[in-house]
Amino acid sequence: MLTTSSLSIGYHHPLASNLNLELHPAELVCLIGPNGVGKSTLLRTLAGMEKPLAGTVWLQHDNLHHLPAMELAKRLAIVLTGRVESPLLTAYELVSLGRYPYTDWLGRLTARDEVAVRHAMHLTDTWRFQARPLAQLSDGERQKVMIARALAQEPKVLLLDEPTAFLDLPRRVDLLQLLRRLARETQTAILLSTHDLDLALRLADRLWLFSSNGTMEIGLPEALALNGAIARVFQSEGAYFDHAIGAFRVHQAIHGPLTLEGDGYGITAAWTWRALERLGYEVHNGKSRYPLRVEILAESHWRLVTPSTQTDHFSLESLLTQIAQFHSHENLL
């Protein structure tokens, strides 16, 4: 569908060189990587908005950068990060602008165009508010309308630059699931950039992992997590990717090890774990035997065992206060 051969991207200096990428129909690919590596530049180059420094982007056997603009618009659509500021435009009017490459000089919709617009709006569940002006749409609704507009172009390839950026978590999940469904139902190749590593890992068919040295690792999300590629790309001082749990750990241990006992209390244990980590402890499970130990005895009953004392607590708050006290005491010695 869309392939690149020895593609170099960037403005004056290459951000990445010799990229050989491939997008397939019905596949949802997430482009992830740290800030500033050139995710947007790559998307814009693939969309024909920027010229490549070297190499070629192929769209169905045609050099994408040589296609006439109208022809390209019929095959490829993009959703950008910037907000559209046209409060009077209704959702329907906005989506119907997606028919731009198909309509006559006045932009009049034929019956065929109307079907395409309605179909795009039904697919994205935006038909409900088709008559509402943009000013009265929430960020999530707006983003879906923008996607409907892109679908109205009936593209073979759909590119999205951080479509989840302004949305809360439920809406982000919702949007990615929608895109995944769209890829299947419309046989479109969908590529989106995101900072949502967790969601990308759960919902993408494939990850393009862009690292700051300009290399690209491509593979199944789970495979890239397993071989440590994700941890490598995202390593930084404040956080690291723990591939045992498939998520970032934010705090580095500053206080040394601690044993947390009480695996029987799953949720309590998980949140206690996080609280202790936040305080700066390197938390280990009940099999370890460190001098500092927290035992979970019931759902809200914790016991703190230090080499010299043993105290019982009935709230996390009191447990943490006690640990902090123990700590300042230890520092004095």
Partner: protein, 360 residues
């Protein structure tokens, strides 16, 4: 709003979704304003006689035919064309720059025209030759003004277009246009500073604006130029709609943004330049009418906004001119003064009545 329904009448009228009754109302308003401006002035002519004379009948008073054909008809036509031209120009500029404050003169066209006129009136010749040449109220003098205004407007337009082809960013264009405007205004001020009071008087008369200066021979240049500008504007409605989404989206939809921008500027500046050249810088219509159109029709679709703005602009210009004539009296108020004095309250009341201030 209903999705566009294909309809033969609508496609003929280039207004796919404008409610028909509003369109009809606007046409009626325009016809009424036109009739009023033919009938009223320093001398009132009964409506029946107006129609009678226009159809080739013999008037009750011989002077009426002269008044009608030599003065009121060309003046009314001029008002219609200028109102339509400035409204269409302002609409295009507001969308192109995505700025509700943009007007037809934002790229410095009127400043250029003023400079041209100022150079002729204030700067030309040392003695009284140039002055008598112009203030003789002869057709030739008026035409000289129109020519010099056109030359000045064309100069600025040329410079802006040269830039528009090179500059990627529309905002840069806006700022450079403003700078050109300031530059031209500065030169005009300088000329005024060093000129004799009589000449300054003639110049300030020109800046007050008037629809009365266009004679039939001039109309043969003025009308085709204005209509040509409107024609280009009507071919730009689709690109203008795409530009509502911003340059990048417009480009991704297949629009050649740079080319569209050049044509929009050509159309908007031609309309503004022609209007200024023949009638002086007419303010207010260009910036206000598109807002009224958006407010009343509650749409951002240029297929609706363009014809609506054209009709409203024409009617507004006719009515403003009618008031400026102070019907029944021998005095005439400066057109720009009337536009603002009577236009501002009317238009504010329309725009502020909306729950939220309408944007583009």
């Amino acid at each position: 709003m209903q999705p566009y329904t294909p309809c033969i009448l609508h496609s003929l009228l280039i207004i796919p979704s404008m409610p028909r009754w509003i369109f009809l109302l606007l046409v009626l308003l325009l016809l009424l304003a036109f009739a009023l401006s033919l009938a009223f002035g320093s001398v009132s002519i009964p409506f029946g006689q107006v129609v009678h004379i226009l159809l080739g009948g013999i008037p009750e008073k011989a002077a009426w035919a002269d008044i009608l054909f030599k003065f009121r008809l060309p003046k009314a036509l001029t008002a219609v064309l200028v109102g339509a031209a400035l409204a269409a120009s302002g609409l295009q500029m507001q969308t192109l720059f995505r700025n509700p404050l943009a007007d037809p003169y934002i790229l410095g066209v009127s400043s250029g025209a003023s400079l041209g006129v100022a150079l002729v009136i204030l700067g030309l010749g040392t003695g009284s030759t140039a002055l008598t040449f112009i203030s003789g109220l002869g057709t030739l003098g008026n035409f000289t003004l129109a020519l010099s205004a056109s030359a000045g407007a064309a100069l600025v337009l040329g410079a802006v277009l040269l830039l528009a082809r090179r500059v990627q960013n529309t905002l840069t264009l806006l700022v450079t246009g403003l700078m050109f405007g300031y530059l031209a205004s500065a030169v005009v001020s300088l000329l005024i500073y060093f000129s004799q009071p009589e000449r300054v008087q003639v110049f300030s008369l020109w800046t007050a604006g008037s629809f009365g200066g266009v004679t039939w021979p001039q109309m043969q240049v003025f009308a085709p130029a204005a209509l040509f500008g409107l024609l280009i504007a009507s071919t730009m409605v689709k690109p203008l709609n795409a530009l509502l989404l911003g340059d990048e989206y417009a480009r991704s939809l297949g629009l050649n943004v740079r080319r569209a921008r050049v044509w929009i500027i050509v159309s908007a500046s031609l309309l503004a330049g022609v209007a200024t050249a023949f009638c002086g810088p007419i303010w207010f219509v260009g910036v206000a009418v598109p807002h009224v159109a958006r407010s009343l029709l509650k749409t951002a679709d240029h297929r609706v906004l363009l014809p609506a703005s054209v009709l409203m602009g024409a009617a507004f210009a006719l009515l403003a001119d009618l008031i400026a004539q102070l019907p029944g009296s021998q005095r005439v108020l400066p057109l720009n003064v009337v536009m603002s004095l009577f236009g501002v309250p009317v238009i504010l009341s329309i725009i502020l009545r909306q729950k939220q201030l309408r944007q583009l």
